[in-house]
């Protein structure tokens, strides 16, 4: 018999043996697939958010300058703009006005921003899609906003930003600079922070250093640092990914450990009979190898397919409570799928290989002992 024929015969025998213990093996595949599903979902979600952040924030301001007073972020005088503009390499510099607004009707926190090119004039707002979605129906097209003195400003809702942009604009409320200053009693001549564009991207760090020299009470944050922040948040090795993945990894380690520490009495008996019938140790190991491949390959494929559906078609509904936390307003967005051969290979080697090895080791131990002893044990 040729080698391929021998392999197929052993595979046929292995599969019939697996089918004889249908219930037990189906339960094993389900648990294993669930572990792969959890691991893959976390990896899909993390990579997609990381990539989304990198591509969307590629046009974020090159440098943001914050003022610190007594170690806290404070309003920055617009007079600083003149000093910043004198730094060689700075192309444009302007002040931003933005802050947070707690909406007592819904209990949500919104980001309020003054837009200097706001097209609708005073007492008007443009809302992010998430804000619009959470407004109580009684509000209609007028949004009452509680000002610093407790009085209300009634703002006409003129436009809603598209749902496609929710990942950056879900909680935004845009208004004129004058309305913003009036709502929060922000005096003329100060802004929340400054945003700068630099002519030569290679000079960004030099410009940032000069800003701290000229204005020692400020802190520049470069675009590269913003991007690195999101890299760190969704990094494989830390933060959210490790927090979510550690549970799934532990479950998998327990599963593999249980498999590696021993065979059931029935399996030992089967190996003993096969050895008694004249099977070689290598045949028994080959059988166990095919058993590991069959269980882990199907669990892996099932787990990864379900994870893809969960993250990209089901909006990561299983992780939503963790991601949402205490947020009242949570953006409704569809992530761009990210799947690479590297990622699939890493998941494969993390799950399939250890499991297959874990099934071979105890079988090798049983197969190398005397058949009579194995059967009597």
């Amino acid at each position: 018999m040729n080698r391929a024929g021998r392999q197929r015969n052993i595979l046929d025998f292995t599969l019939s043996s697996l089918l004889r213990r249908k219930g037990r093996n189906a339960a094993l595949v389900l648990v294993y697939a669930f572990v792969v599903f959890l691991l893959s979902s976390v990896v899909f979600l993390g990579l997609s958010l990381k990539e989304e952040a990198q591509s969307v924030l590629a046009d974020a301001p090159e440098i943001v300058v914050q003022r610190l007073a007594a170690g806290r972020h404070d309003m920055i005088p617009e007079s600083y703009l003149a000093k910043v503009r004198e730094i060689p390499g700075v192309r444009t510099a302007k002040a931003r006005l933005w802050g947070y607004y707690y909406e007592p009707l819904t209990g949500a926190n919104y980001t309020v921003m003054a837009d200097e090119n706001f097209p609708y004039g005073r007492k008007s707002v443009v809302l992010g899609n998430g804000v619009e979605r959470h407004l109580p129906p009684m509000v209609g097209r007028t949004l009452p906003m509680r000002a610093y003195d407790g009085s209300y400003r009634f703002m006409q809702i003129r436009e809603t930003l598209s749902s496609d942009s929710e990942l950056v604009s879900s909680d935004l409320i845009l208004m004129t600079v004058e309305d913003f200053r009036d709502l929060f009693r922000i005096p003329e001549g100060v802004g929340t922070d400054l945003v700068l564009s630099v002519a030569n991207p290679r000079e960004v760090s030099t410009v940032a250093r000069k800003i701290t020299e000229i204005l020692p009470d400020t802190r520049p944050i470069t675009r590269a640092e913003v991007l690195r922040t999101y890299d760190a948040i969704f990094d494989w090795r830390g933060g959210m990914i490790v927090a979510c993945m550690s549970g799934a990894l532990m479950a998998f380690i327990i599963l593999a450990w249980d498999k590696a520490t021993g065979l059931s009495a029935e399996e030992r008996k089967e190996i003993g009979i096969l050895k008694g019938l004249g099977w070689e140790t290598s045949d028994v190991i080959l059988m166990k190898f095919w058993e590991g491949v069959a269980v882990s390959l199907f669990s892996f494929l099932l787990g990864i397919l379900l994870a893809y559906v969960h993250v990209y078609f089901g909006s990561t509904s299983l992780f939503e409570p963790a991601l949402k936390g205490w947020s009242v307003l949570y953006p409704d967005f569809r992530l761009k799928p990210v799947i690479t051969p590297y990622m699939v290979s890493v998941l494969f080697f993390l799950t399939v290989v250890p499991y297959t090895i874990a099934t071979i080791v105890p079988s090798w131990r049983a197969a190398t002992t005397d058949p009579d002893t194995v059967m009597r044990a």
Binding site: D12, N109, G128, L305
Partner: protein, 100 residues
């Protein structure tokens, strides 16, 4: 009728599974192309308003704008205050605040 061998059924199902896996790559490529317009829209809003953060966690200001936050903001409520927002415990402080 000839009965199908178990190994044939195994290879056929493995091939179907692998084909579905390859379809995921094709779907991801298709969605990437289909999403270019929406990506451009997001980038335009970021450019026009000078935005610095994704709107992912709106529960606290340092989770809404992690790139703009101070290192101590999660603990500023009172001395020895423990971090209490669930999403904040999921990520580390920005790298530019972690250095010496």
């Amino acid at each position: 009728m000839m009965q199908c061998r178990e190994s044939t059924a195994f290879f056929l199902s493995a091939a179907v599974g692998l084909a579905l896996l390859l379809l995921l790559f094709a779907h991801a490529g298709w969605r990437e192309r289909a999403g270019r317009k929406s990506l451009e829209e997001k980038r335009e809003i970021v450019r026009a308003l000078g935005l610095t953060d994704l709107c992912l966690f709106t529960e606290a200001r340092y989770t809404r704008h992690p790139a703009m936050a101070d290192r101590f903001t999660p603990f500023q409520d009172h001395p020895f205050s423990l971090e209490h927002f669930p999403s904040a415990s999921l990520f580390r402080p920005p790298p530019h605040l972690s250095g010496p």
